[in-house]
C-alpha cells in the first residue's frame, strides 16, 4: 500500500507523472478488469468492454426511457436510460432546455445501472429460517409471502390493536407510488402509529416551532388561534421559513454557513450545490464573502479554503453566544426590531410569567442570567477552538454586512444539544434584524421549492398517535410505558401498545441508519417483543437481515414511474418514465403486492379503486396538470419525460417582516419567541432525566457526549458526515463508487501522529457503544481533537462473535439516548471515541 507523499515527485517525464503515481505499489493486478471477485465488475459485459477499447464507437441501443433518482438526498435528478433489447446499457441525464436548469445526476445516479443489474439484487420472496437477524432465508412463493403477511396483520390487529403496527422510517424510495401503497393498505386495515419528525431534521423540527411558529397554534383555516390572522408555522421543508439560495445570489453580500455543505448533501445538478456555486460567484463578484463554519474543510469550500472557519462540532451555539456578546457590548443589535418582532430578548419583552427573573436572552449572554457567566469571546474560545480575535472579527464582519445570508445545514442540529443549537444559530439574523429583507435569511437551511406539481398515491390513516421516529426501538421494548411527557408521544397521551409489527419498505433504519446497532440488535432479535417484521428492498441491507418476510421490490426504472423535483432545488418539475428494463426474477411492484394483501381482507377494490398502478400514475399526473394549467398533456410528458420550470427567489419570513400584525407567526405571541413560555412549561412538566434539560431560550449546553465529555478512555470527539459515495446507506454496496470515494476516518495529522497512524492504515475506533474498523485518511482538513466517520457505510459484524464492525458503520459507535425535547437522534453526531492502529 502506498502512503501519502509530502510532495509528488517532480522528475522528468515518466517519474514525475500521475501515471507514476497510479503505478506506485501496484502489480499487474492494477489493471485487471475482473478485479478478482466478479462482483466488482459484474456489469462489464465482454462486448461492452471491447466497445470501450474501440475508439470512436458508441454503445448500441434501441430505446430511451426516462426515470429519476429516488433516494433521499432529495435531489430526484433525471435519468435518461438508453436501452437495448429491454436492458439498460448506459445513462444520459437531463440534457433538456437551459443548461443551467438541468437536473444532472451526481456520481451516484450515474452508477444506478450498477445497482439495477447488480448480482446481489433480491429476486424472490423469502422467509427467515435462522434466528432473527442472522440473515438466513429461504425462497417462498408470493402466495405464501402474502398469506403470511395477511395472517400476521390479522393476528396483530386482533391481539394488540392497530396501534401495535408501525411503519418504520424509510426513505430509500421517493416516488409517487413507492412507499405509499403499504401505508394505504395499512390505513384501510384500521391504521398504524405515525412517524413523528425524521432522521434528517429530528431536533430542529421539534425545537424551531417554539421560536418561529407551530401548527399547534393554527386553526383549521390556517389562522392563528388567538390572533385570528393567517399565520405561518415552521417547517424545514418550505420557502416560507427560509430564503432561497437564488435570493442570496441576487442580493447578499455575505453568506455565513453553519454545518452546511451542499457539495456533499445536495449533489445533483439542479440541486443546491449548483445553486451555491452561483451564489459564490455572485457574492464574490460584488466584493462579498462566504464563510463556511464546519469542523471539516468540506467539499463546498474545497478550492476556497479561506472560506473555512474550523470549529469543534457541537459548539456552534457557544460561537453564536460570543458573537451576540460582542454585538450587545458594542451596541450593534437592532433593539427596535427586537422590541417589535420578538419576545424575550431583554426584560422589555419578557412574558409576564418570566419577568423580573433574569431569564432573558440578554441576561444569559451578558452574565446576569441563570448561570451568571458572561459569554465573551474568551469564554467561547476554548469551547469552540475558535480564537477570540477571530470571533470578534467575525462578529464585526456580520454586523457590517448589508444583507447577510445566515444559513445552517442539518448537521448542527443532529447533536445531543441540537434543540438549542438550531435556535441559537437563528439568533444571529434575529439580533441584528436581518430577517425578511432582500438577501437575508432566517438562519434556516436554504429554502425548498414552494410548488409540487403532482401528488402521490392517497393514504389515509385513521390513527393520530405519532411516535418520534428515533423512539421506535423504545416503543418495541416498552411502548406501553411511553407517554406524551416522558417520551414525546404526539397525537395521543400515550402509546396504546408496544410495537408488535414493523412494516419496513425501502429503508435501512432498523439498524444501519438508526443508531447504536449493538443495542438495537438486542431489541430486534427478541421475538417476544416485536413479533413480526416485513422488509421490502432491492438488496440485502443490514436491516433486511432482521426480516421475517423479505420481499424483492421492482426498482422505479423497471416500472412506470413518476416523481416531482427534489426538495432542495429552486425549480419545480416532474419526471414520468416508462420501464427501461424488466425487473429481475420475481420482483414485483409494491402496489401490486399490497393489492393482493388487501384482497385477503376483502379490500382489494377499496385499495385499487379499480385502477392499476399505471392508471394511478396517469390520474395523479393529470390531476396535477389540470390544477397547474401549464404542464404538458399525459401523452406529451410520456414522450418528453421531464417538465420543469424555475421558481422566483423567496425571502424567508418576508410577510411577517413586512407586516407582523397582519402576518403573525404561529407562536403563542405571534412573534419570534426568543424566550418560549411553552418550552418553559414543557421543561417544568415533562419527565426528564437528571442530565437532560429543555431551555426556554437558545443556550449553549454541551449535551450528552458533547463538549467536555471526553475521557482518558475516549479522548476524541467523533461525528458523522454525508459522504459522496452514498446517499445515507443507499448505493453502499456499489463497488465502483467505493473505489472512487473510499470509506475513511478523517483524522488530523496531530491526532494521527500521537497514535502512530498513517494514511491508509486500518484503525480501530472504539466508543462506549461499539467498535469499528476503518481506513484512516490523515488530513489537515479536519480540526484536531475530533475524528469523523462518513455515515451510511454498511454494518458488517459477527453479531454472535466480537461484534467488531468491519464495514465502518458510524451507528455502531452511536449511543441510543433520545434527546430531551425531540426524543431524537442527536447522538448521530455526538460521540466520544478512542482511535488506534488495528
Amino acid at each position: 500500500m502506498t502512503k501519502n507523499q509530502a510532495t509528488l515527485p517532480r522528475r522528468t517525464f515518466v517519474k514525475g507523472s500521475l501515471a507514476g503515481l497510479a503505478l506506485a505499489g501496484a502489480g499487474s493486478a492494477l489493471y485487471g478488469c475482473s478485479g478478482g471477485d466478479g462482483a466488482s465488475t459484474d456489469t462489464a459485459t465482454p462486448e461492452a468492454s471491447i466497445g470501450a477499447a474501440t475508439p470512436g464507437t458508441q454503445p448500441d441501443t434501441d430505446s430511451v426511457h426516462w426515470s429519476q433518482c429516488n433516494v433521499n438526498c432529495g435531489g430526484n435528478c433525471v435519468f435518461q436510460w438508453h436501452s437495448k433489447d429491454g436492458k439498460v446499457v448506459y445513462m444520459e441525464t437531463d440534457n433538456t432546455g437551459d443548461a443551467a436548469l438541468q437536473a444532472r445526476a451526481c456520481l451516484r445516479g450515474r452508477s444506478m445501472r450498477r445497482w439495477l443489474n447488480h448480482p446481489d439484487r433480491l429476486t424472490v420472496p423469502m422467509k427467515r429460517v435462522g434466528k432473527r437477524g442472522e440473515g438466513k432465508f429461504e425462497e417462498i412463493s408470493w402466495d405464501e409471502a402474502i398469506d403470511t403477511i395477511a395472517e400476521k396483520l390479522k393476528y396483530t390487529i386482533d391481539t394488540y390493536g392497530n396501534e401495535a403496527i408501525y411503519v418504520n422510517y424509510a426513505t430509500g424510495m421517493y416516488s409517487a407510488t413507492g412507499r405509499q401503497p403499504g401505508q394505504r393498505l395499512l390505513g384501510l386495515l384500521g391504521g398504524y402509529v405515525n412517524q413523528g419528525y425524521d432522521y434528517s431534521t429530528h431536533m430542529l423540527s421539534a425545537a424551531m416551532p417554539y421560536m418561529y411558529g407551530s401548527a399547534a397554534n393554527l386553526d383549521d383555516d390556517g389562522n392563528h388561534v388567538t390572533l385570528g390572522k393567517p399565520a405561518t408555522a415552521f417547517s424545514p421543508y418550505d420557502a416560507t421559513n427560509a430564503s432561497s439560495f437564488s435570493e442570496a445570489e441576487a442580493n447578499s453580500d455575505l453568506v455565513v454557513m453553519f454545518g452546511n455543505s451542499p457539495a456533499e448533501t445536495r449533489m445533483g445538478g439542479a440541486n443546491a450545490v449548483w445553486d451555491f456555486a452561483r451564489v459564490r460567484e455572485a457574492v464574490n463578484g460584488r466584493g462579498g464573502r462566504i464563510i463556511n463554519i464546519d469542523y471539516r474543510l468540506n467539499e463546498t469550500s474545497s478550492g476556497h479554503p479561506d472560506e473555512w472557519l474550523p470549529i469543534r462540532p457541537g459548539t456552534d451555539a457557544a460561537l453564536v453566544n460570543a458573537i451576540a456578546h460582542e454585538w450587545i457590548a458594542n451596541g450593534q443589535v437592532d433593539k427596535e426590531f427586537l422590541d417589535a418582532y420578538c419576545v424575550g430578548y431583554d426584560e422589555d419583552t419578557m412574558p409576564e410569567s418570566a419577568r423580573g427573573q433574569n431569564k432573558s436572552y440578554k441576561d444569559y449572554i451578558m452574565g446576569t442570567g441563570y448561570d451568571m457567566v458572561e459569554k465573551t469571546p474568551e469564554w467561547a474560545a476554548p469551547i469552540t477552538q475558535v480564537p477570540a480575535d477571530t470571533i470578534r472579527a467575525l462578529a464585526d464582519e456580520i454586523a457590517s454586512a448589508e444583507a447577510p445570508f445566515i444559513v445552517q445545514g442539518w448537521g448542527p442540529q443532529r447533536h445531543t444539544n441540537g434543540e438549542d443549537v438550531c435556535r441559537a444559530i437563528c439568533m444571529l439574523p434575529v439580533l441584528i434584524g436581518k430577517i425578511g429583507l432582500p438577501g437575508t435569511n432566517t438562519g434556516q437551511r436554504e429554502a425548498e421549492p414552494s410548488v409540487y406539481l403532482v401528488g402521490s398515491l392517497p393514504v389515509k390513516n385513521p390513527i393520530t398517535t405519532t411516535l418520534p421516529v428515533y423512539q421506535f426501538i423504545n416503543a418495541i421494548d416498552h411502548g406501553h410505558e411511553m407517554t406524551a411527557t416522558n417520551a414525546g408521544i404526539m397525537g395521543a397521551d400515550k402509546l396504546a401498545s408496544d410495537i408488535k409489527f414493523i412494516w419496513n419498505y425501502a429503508g435501512n433504519c432498523l439498524t444501519n441508519q438508526h443508531g447504536d446497532i449493538n443495542y438495537t440488535h438486542e431489541i430486534l432479535i427478541d421475538e417476544s417483543k416485536c413479533e413480526f417484521i416485513v422488509v421490502w428492498d432491492t438488496v440485502m441491507t443490514d436491516s433486511a437481515k432482521y426480516a421475517d418476510i423479505l420481499l424483492p421490490d421492482a426498482m422505479r426504472s423497471e416500472q412506470m414511474n413518476m416523481q416531482t423535483q427534489g426538495y432542495s432545488e429552486y425549480y419545480t418539475g416532474v419526471v414520468v418514465g416508462t420501464p427501461a428494463q424488466e425487473a429481475p426474477g420475481e420482483c414485483r411492484s409494491s402496489y401490486d403486492v399490497c393489492a393482493d394483501i388487501a384482497d385477503k381482507f376483502g379490500l382489494k377494490d377499496s385499495f385499487t379503486e379499480g385502477k392499476t398502478h399505471d392508471d394511478w400514475v396517469r390520474e395523479l399526473y393529470e390531476a396535477g396538470a389540470e390544477a397547474d394549467g401549464d404542464m404538458p398533456t399525459w401523452d406529451e410528458i410520456v414522450e418528453q419525460g421531464v417538465y420543469k420550470r424555475e421558481l422566483a427567489p423567496a425571502i424567508g419570513l418576508e410577510a411577517f417582516r413586512t407586516d407582523p400584525a397582519e402576518n403573525p407567526l404561529a407562536t403563542p405571541s405571534g412573534k419570534i419567541e426568543i424566550y418560549s413560555e411553552t418550552l418553559a412549561e414543557i421543561a417544568n412538566t415533562w419527565e426528564l432525566a437528571e442530565d437532560e434539560a429543555i431551555n426556554p431560550i437558545p443556550v449553549f449546553t454541551p449535551g450528552f457526549q458533547g463538549y467536555g465529555s471526553v475521557t482518558e478512555e475516549y479522548p476524541l470527539y467523533c461525528t458523522g458526515f454525508h459522504h459522496k459515495s452514498r446517499t445515507h446507506s443507499s448505493f453502499g454496496f456499489i463497488e465502483e463508487l467505493e473505489k472512487v470515494a473510499r470509506q475513511q476516518l478523517w483524522i488530523n495529522p496531530i491526532d494521527a501522529e500521537e497514535r502512530g497512524i498513517e494514511a491508509g492504515d486500518i484503525v480501530s475506533v472504539v466508543s462506549p457503544a461499539g467498535e469499528i474498523r476503518i481506513e484512516a485518511k490523515v488530513t489537515p482538513r479536519i480540526i484536531p481533537g475530533t475524528v469523523a466517520v462518513p455515515q451510511g457505510a454498511w454494518h458488517n459484524a459477527d453479531m454472535n462473535g466480537d461484534r467488531v464492525d468491519m464495514g465502518g458503520c458510524v451507528n455502531t459507535l452511536t449511543t441510543y439516548k433520545p434527546t430531551p425535547l425531540a426524543k431524537g437522534n442527536g447522538p448521530a453526531h455526538s460521540m466520544i471515541v478512542q482511535v488506534a492502529k488495528a
Binding site: 507523499q5 509530502a6 509528488l8 517532480r10 517525464f13 514525475g16 507523472s17 500521475l18 501515471a19 503515481l21 503505478l23 506506485a24 485487471g32 478488469c33 466488482s40 465488475t41 459485459t45 461492452a48 468492454s49 466497445g51 470501450a52 474501440t54 475508439p55 470512436g56 458508441q58 454503445p59 448506459y90 445513462m91 444520459e92 443548461a99 444532472r104 445526476a105 451526481c106 456520481l107 450515474r110 445501472r113 457539495a263 449533489m267 445533483g268 445538478g269 450545490v273 449548483w274 456555486a277 467539499e299 474545497s302 478550492g303 476556497h304 479554503p305 474550523p310 474560545a381 476554548p382 477570540a388 465502483e736 467505493e738 473505489k739 473510499r742 496531530i750 488530513t779 489537515p780 480540526i783
Partner: protein, 212 residues
C-alpha cells in the same frame, strides 16, 4: 483542422467524481479502470494555541483530468506498434486495438496516466473524447454530466480565448511543456503551481488500482 480540448474550472469543482462515473457508465468500465480521474490535492497544517484554539493554513482542491489529446502525445511517441494516432481533423488521440499488443508503454509514458491496459483484453484503452458523440455534435459525456458545469469541450483555441485567465497546469498535474496538452484550467484560490512541494495527492488509493 480543429484541435479539440477541455476546459476545467477548478473554482467550481467539488471533487464529486460525477464526470468519472458518467464516463465509466457509458464506456462500461470496471472499478479498476477510469478514463477520467479526479485528484484530491491538499496540504497545510494546524497550529494549536495554549488555550486550545486553532489556526490553520490547510487547503484542498480537486483536479479532474482525462486524456488531454496532447499536441506532443507521449503515448504516441513511445508506442512500439504505432497503434496510437492523432486524428488529423480533430486532434483526438486514439489507440487502434488491432495493432495494440497491450505492452503498457503508453501508460507509463503519459504524464497524466491517461491510457490504461485492460488486462482482460490485453489492450491499451483510453479516453477518445467520446468522439462518436462529438461527431454527432454532442459533448463528451463527462462534460454534460458535471453538476457544477465545470467542464467544457471544444476548439481549444476558442476555449483559450473564452477563458483568457486560464492556465495549462496546476498541481498535481505535470508542467504543460512535457506534452503540450490541450487543456485550459481556471485555477481556484487554493491552486498551486505544477512544481508545488507543499501538498500531496490525498486520494492515491482512489486513483490507483483496484479495490481490495
Amino acid at each position: 483542422m480543429t484541435q479539440y480540448g477541455f476546459y476545467f474550472d477548478s473554482t467550481r469543482c467539488t471533487g464529486c467524481r460525477t464526470c468519472e462515473m458518467a464516463c465509466k457508465d457509458i464506456k462500461d468500465l470496471p472499478a479498476s479502470i477510469a478514463f477520467r480521474t479526479v485528484y484530491d490535492y491538499e496540504g497545510g497544517t494546524f497550529t494549536v494555541a495554549e488555550d486550545g484554539t486553532c489556526s490553520t493554513d490547510a487547503y484542498a482542491y480537486h483536479v479532474s483530468v482525462s486524456c488531454n489529446q496532447c499536441n506532443e502525445p507521449a503515448c504516441l511517441a513511445i508506442c512500439p506498434q504505432e497503434a496510437i494516432s492523432k486524428d488529423a481533423e480533430t486532434g483526438i488521440v486514439t489507440s487502434d486495438p488491432a495493432k495494440c499488443i497491450g505492452c503498457g508503454s503508453c501508460t507509463t509514458a503519459c504524464p497524466y496516466g491517461a491510457p490504461k491496459v485492460n488486462e482482460d483484453l490485453g489492450k491499451s484503452v483510453k479516453c477518445d473524447a467520446c468522439s462518436a458523440r462529438v461527431a454527432e455534435g454532442k459533448n463528451p459525456i463527462c462534460v454534460d454530466a458535471c453538476p457544477l458545469r465545470a467542464l467544457e469541450f471544444g476548439d481549444i483555441e476558442e476555449l483559450r480565448a473564452a477563458h483568457a485567465d486560464g492556465v495549462a497546469a496546476i498541481a498535481p498535474l505535470p508542467a504543460a511543456d512535457m506534452t503540450d496538452p490541450n487543456l485550459v484550467i481556471l485555477a481556484c484560490p487554493a491552486a498551486k503551481e505544477p512544481d508545488d512541494e507543499t501538498g500531496f495527492v490525498a486520494n492515491e488509493l482512489e486513483v490507483e488500482g483496484s479495490v481490495d
